[in-house]
Symmetry: C2
Subunit: 345 residues, 2 copies
């Protein structure tokens, strides 16, 4: 087989949710946007629903429709982008709960879907999604009689606990929602770790479920094994890969493995990343190509049939560090070519 | 609608193939691995087959199977990873032509698929795929009586025309294939541009078909339009996005658009990239998030309902430059969430 295997450990996913849930002390939802960060929203949602999750969050109505098909009726599916033009049909058909972001969206919803469920998204300083204080003041008399299901905002700096922005957003959120009887949500994974005053009535972890920073105690959820196409001896002075960027300074044994940047193994991570032959560290040599990577397997004790890119020793956050990005982007880049296996342990 | 639209201009694809074909002066195949560089191997292959392409190249047998389903019988489908362990069934069922890379693969093929079509891949110095001169010497007496359909090698530095590696690989390829009556292929897009002596019996453009460097005369094939979720005024000193990395130095109008790095809009391109409101350049502000990007639309002459990331003015190579990578990686990163539209012009 020429394609790599991406294994998703559903027990680790369950364990991560349970741990975050025990820290929340309130309803703990799950963020499964971007196809559950690339891991398959259908399987991830079904597993978490079985674990007791009753509220899910997606980015856009199209994702919500897919999740509803996977889950059936029952759980609430919130849509971060709210009620956008052209979304009415999907929202109604799949019983989605848009998080209204603006006056435009509120008027659209009130006009077209007066009796349908919705939430309110407030901007508390990130300036990305949601209504700002003055906008909310202008709209609240339209919104509140329609009984929003949730009032939500998002922290810009939750992965930096000491950042003054966290407390500033908390204060703004409290002020904007003061005296209302609507359930409130402010915390994603980082917000859960900030402590109880950030938790309100519902927390909504994303990255922590999938084994990434800032939830340092997360169990890794993803592993990747890549088949070896062939192994060759490379003499001193020979080069490997595009642009002849790597030359052998001693005789080396080089494996070519069958995956590349088309599988989300970002070119940027190449110079700092190794694959594993069992416990042996085998550095990438030369540039990562679209479908192939050269790996120095000289130190492997046996001839490897496959090499491991992600495991419990090398996590998404290690790869992110190597590529100059964040674990979230490592996950969402993984792409469609893998054979995805769901391990129930 | 909350998802972005990725439009693939099939007429531009056809035009690029025709132009490369006219430069080839020999059979011109098409490389459609990695789902045709992320653009949809089924539609791309069918379009190019209609244009007259008779040979297609994929990375792995699984991709070959999908392309055969799309094309039906007729065209040859070559598999770069060759005949890997476990591939025999797919190769037979979907009538694929593996490019044999090693003695192991040759022995496997001779044992299990003696009467099935195959090609030979030679390593002429890139040390990635294919048999080296000594290995080929040892294997040729097994291979040649089985009548390989093609002998192929790949250039490591074809996008640098002056690089001495090109001529060195050419000489090695000529030497390794001298006196044989098997058709030969050395040139992908870069090799076509190097000139006639690199063309042999079959050229196999990839990136040039899809509008990328090093084929500077390519027509852009891909455009991306991203819907605006909402627009807000941001006051002096306010920040936008995660980590508060951007602050407004004057009052600005900021649009939040519904796409992000989960759509392959690499985080690394953020600081240097703008989107377009018609012809007006609107810079990205703050960090690109998973599903959302902040864009400064202060200079837009109308309130935009969507913004354009890729068009004829800003191509995959511009984005690649901004992200510190190559156009190939921009294409293969685009991801599954887009609405893909195929424009037949």
């Amino acid at each position: 087989m020429g394609i790599a295997t991406l294994t998703i450990n559903l027990n680790a996913l369950r364990a991560n949710w349970r741990r975050l849930n025990s820290m929340s002390g309130t309803e703990t939802a799950a963020v499964i946007k971007a196809d559950a960060y690339g891991l398959g929203a259908d399987r991830v949602a079904a597993t978490l629903a079985d674990e007791g999750v009753q509220s899910f969050f997606v980015a856009v109505a199209e994702e919500g429709a897919a999740v509803r098909k996977a889950l059936g009726e029952g759980p609430t599916i919130y849509v971060f982008s709210g009620h956008m033009e052209g979304d009415t049909h999907l929202i109604a058909k799949y019983n989605l709960t848009p998080l209204i972001n603006s006056t435009d969206q509120m008027l659209r919803h009130a006009k077209l879907m007066k009796n349908y469920s919705f939430g309110i998204q407030l901007d508390t300083g990130m300036n990305r999604l949601g209504m700002e204080p003055t906008e909310w003041e202008a709209v609240r008399d339209i919104a509140l009689p329609l009984e929003p299901k949730l009032m939500l905002s998002h922290l810009a700096c939750a992965d930096e606990p000491a950042h003054p922005m966290n407390r500033q957003q908390l204060k703004t959120f409290e002020k904007m929602t003061k005296g209302l009887s609507v359930p409130r949500s402010l915390a994603a994974t980082g917000g859960i770790l900030l402590g109880e005053e950030y938790h309100f009535d519902l927390t909504r972890p994303g990255i922590g479920l999938y084994g990434g920073d800032p939830f340092r105690d997360a169990e890794p959820v993803v592993s990747i094994d890549i088949p070896v196409v062939q192994i060759r001896d490379v003499e001193i002075g020979e080069s490997v890969g595009y642009g002849n960027t790597w030359h052998a300074s001693t005789v080396r044994k080089i494996a070519t493995v069958s995956a590349g940047y088309a599988d989300g193994i970002l070119r940027a991570m190449g110079p700092k990343t190794a694959l594993y032959a069992k416990s042996i560290n085998c550095p990438i040599v030369g540039r990562i190509s679209m479908d192939l990577i050269g790996v120095d397997v000289t130190d492997a004790t046996e001839t490897p049939k496959s090499l491991t890119l992600l495991n419990s020793k090398q996590t998404i956050d290690h790869l992110a560090h190597n590529a100059g990005t964040i674990g979230y982007e490592i996950l969402t880049s993984l792409g469609a070519r893998y054979e995805r296996r769901y391990d129930e342990g």
